[in-house]
Amino acid sequence: MKNLAMLIFGLMFALNCAHARELKPIAPRAPFSQLQLQDLSGKNHSLADYKGKVVLVNFWATWCPPCRAEMPSIQRLKAHMAGKPFAILAVDMAETEADVRDFLREMKASKIDFTILMDKDGKAIRAWNVSVFPTSFILDAEGLLRYSLLGSTEWDEYDAVHKIEGLLPSTP
């Protein structure tokens, strides 16, 4: 009986650990904050450029273990959404380009190639009120904030994929 109870407890614990955090709806739908940053190659990006696409904005840093942990799943999400109007903007918190490039080298096996933006002076972190790392936002094709997430998740699992696909603009 005791063994059975321990087995049930163990299963519950394992299920709890395996359960990814879920995206939380933002209501009412809010317009996005501004985001105008350069990527690692020095190219300027503005959220306005992404109108018509669903966008995942992910605030992260190389020194943040949960941020690092979810990076491969963000890359898998990108692969899953290939060909669809979807974009990823991963905003690095005030680190140097060398820090980020070192991290990408470490993660070579995950072949991370989504857009990484450099928030060198923390302006975006302040504007978006980021209190927890990682913090993510999903914007719909109209540029409205629709979901948010505090902490990390497995981005290629059902909850995230289902909710992001639900925001994709319908094909005319």
């Binding site: 840093a61 918190m93 209190s131 948010s148 997430l149 505090l150």
Partner: protein, 266 residues
Amino acid sequence: MAANPDPGSQNNCMRNLTALFLLLLASASAWAGAGARSINVAPDVDVPISIYGASQQQLILWLPSERGVVDPEHEVAKQLAQLGYEVWIADLFGARFLPAVPSSLNAIPATDVVQLIQAAAQRHGKIYLLSSSEGATLALEGAQLWQQDKSNRPVAGAILLFPNLHAAIPDAGTAPTYRPIVAQSRLPIAILQGNLSPWYWQLDALTAQLERGGSRVTSNILPGMRDRFYFREDALPRERAARNQLAAHIDDGIRNLPSINLENTP
């Protein structure tokens, strides 16, 4: 009826005893050089105090964070003692048999801190409260309660290491809200904050909120450090090395505490 000894239970018992022995050994090693006393703060509640150094002029009362008292704090206390402070590490979790989890802080009344300050005030001149992360709330609440009695000599200041004074985890994209004690405190405060933290970017907001109540705040930024760096399980080599500078940073914080006329606290 006596139960037959169960070999499994005996093994468990041996394992537990071994673990207890190792824990005691580790603790003894961490606390080497400490004096000890206990202070009664409530009926049947005696707080074990580890004491480092001896100074009647300035005492640091170190209150636990949400992780309870952690071993590296004893090392830092030893170094503070060498800088001329007397340091009391108060095991408020142990006093109430609380586990080292964040919710335990809610079970510690600010009156415990008041009793500790009371005991310290009998022999010491300046009393500084020191805590980290979520323990900052306990420090501020204890100081405020102590200072409500106008006959008490105010504490000389609070040193807050990467304080977490949020009322709750803010929803993504919303401005932080702080606990009511933040705007009610009237203290000289020194904040030590690593720059590898989202809270680093909110330091202005926290400072403004603290100063609303009459506190005066000075901040010392620790480059390349994450929150809880001196007791993180995943501490980086540079963070482990930085533990050796923490006492000096705390000393700087105390020396640079803003002046404030606490005798006329409204």
